[in-house]
Symmetry: D2
Subunit: 160 residues, 4 copies
């Protein structure tokens, strides 16, 4: 099982974190699959903690017994969707998008609009590997995957 | 066991999060006790993820089999101390202090300098219960405790 | 005239920036005096851009022909009070408090509640000189002034 | 003169703010032209306050007698380039990109890499009009201009 752990030296217990970003109700099924597959590979799923793609990815991860982190834009923990284990309440609005992708050892984009584009920009700026699950933003030089399975495989392969 | 869980409705699995803030090498022993006691009560320990008080609180929590979240100021997960389970990489410098206290259902201050004062201010601004473990900043109207045991008891009692 | 200009080398045109922080309707008169006095000394007044103390300080500065910067927590320039010349729209909520004090070469606190305490903490953390106009938060080791005149004199004398 | 002023009601003195974003030494000449043209139209030029495109846009604005705001990622005012009139020191790293575009009534992108892509994403998320000066990022649905003159004309025409 080729799960790479960036901090293997720590009791073998610290998980790879993968950020799942995006939006759009039409993408929830695929986001849920991404979350589930990541959890099956032992990865913690990091999202923005709210609805649609964020909720679906977390729901998928929990269904597979995984762990989820939600990095919220507002000031209330209660804003987190119900599949968030660990809620980080930032209070910094859209600027929390930086924290979402920075907290991923890799990033998978599922659907998404302008906030997602900002996240992809930040992820690339910080050198995080990014995979765009098709359809999605067209960003030159960024890896693309045609299925949740391929997106997860590719993201894990790109881990530093 | 009077642990209050703000999201008991969620499978009984989502933990109360308590932020432990502060700094100062001379406070690490008491910070470690605070972390341990919180973990024994089922609370997740949230810190700024770096050294001294932050590391000691996380170390104490892990020694008691607890869970830890580190909310880092920089852009690298590797900056987290070795007792952090879930690393949130914010990239926003001292502004991450807001996220640390906002992510706590309650906040315990152990020692600390000006950054800690900023955190106490933010915690009060957001309505988070704050307990200052003596000695520590003098802030009017804020609860004080004379031992780690009292600090944890008081913080849990003040939970919303 | 002992106005120190941190960037005098630049055409003599770049002004000292002084952040005026605080809140409370009962402090507006003194905040307005602080803003006026700062403008008379050639300083640009930096505030959080909203009401009460923030608006009063900017109003005072404009009455004396000065220049004002408002660093807003929200996402809309329209939130700025009408005495703001240059609106900085941060979108990061209370975390913009860090930017307010960091943008001051010195900081004067007029009244204020918990948000102001967070700002004082951040200002001290960043090494900015801070003057608290009485009455106000009691913070050990921070200079205090009993009148707007004294506060401005002291702040300018403490400039790096 | 078709300069639209979002706050004309305020003594006619509050200027339109246009954010100029981007990077790349090969784009400085065109960035300088953009800054100059904006200043000639009465607009304040907002940038990230550092080098290359940011410095060139500010330099152009100052050469035309304009006003400049630099929104810095670090904690020191001294980091601002020498053409910045008003330095906003955020301390929040790349998250300051959000503040740069949010502070523009319109946004013009000149060259740029991943940080610029994040800014474009945020600008669109916040509903700010964006013009990309060619060559530059390809973002579906975003206006493009082939010269600094066209970019400035188009940005001003798109003002809300």
């Amino acid at each position: 099982m080729p799960v790479l752990e960036p901090r293997l030296y720590y009791r073998g217990a610290v998980a790879v974190q993968v950020a799942v970003i995006g939006s759009g109700a039409e993408h929830t099924e695929r986001a849920e699959a991404v979350g589930r597959l990541l959890a099956e590979r032992g990865c913690t799923v990091v999202t923005g903690g709210l609805g649609e793609v964020m909720a679906a990815a977390a729901r998928g991860a929990k269904a597979a017994g995984g762990t989820t982190i939600g990095i919220l834009p507002g000031e209330r923990r209660e804003d987190a969707n119900e599949w968030i284990d660990h809620a980080v309440v930032t209070g910094i609005g859209h600027a929390r998008n930086l924290a979402v992708v920075a907290s991923g050892d890799a990033v998978i984009a599922v659907g998404g609009s302008w906030g997602t584009l900002a996240e992809i920009g930040f992820a690339l700026r910080l050198g995080r590997p990014v995979v765009i699950l098709e359809p999605g933003h067209a960003v030159e030089g960024v890896s693309r995957a045609s299925s949740p399975e391929d997106a997860v495989e590719l993201a894990l392969r790109l881990l530093p």
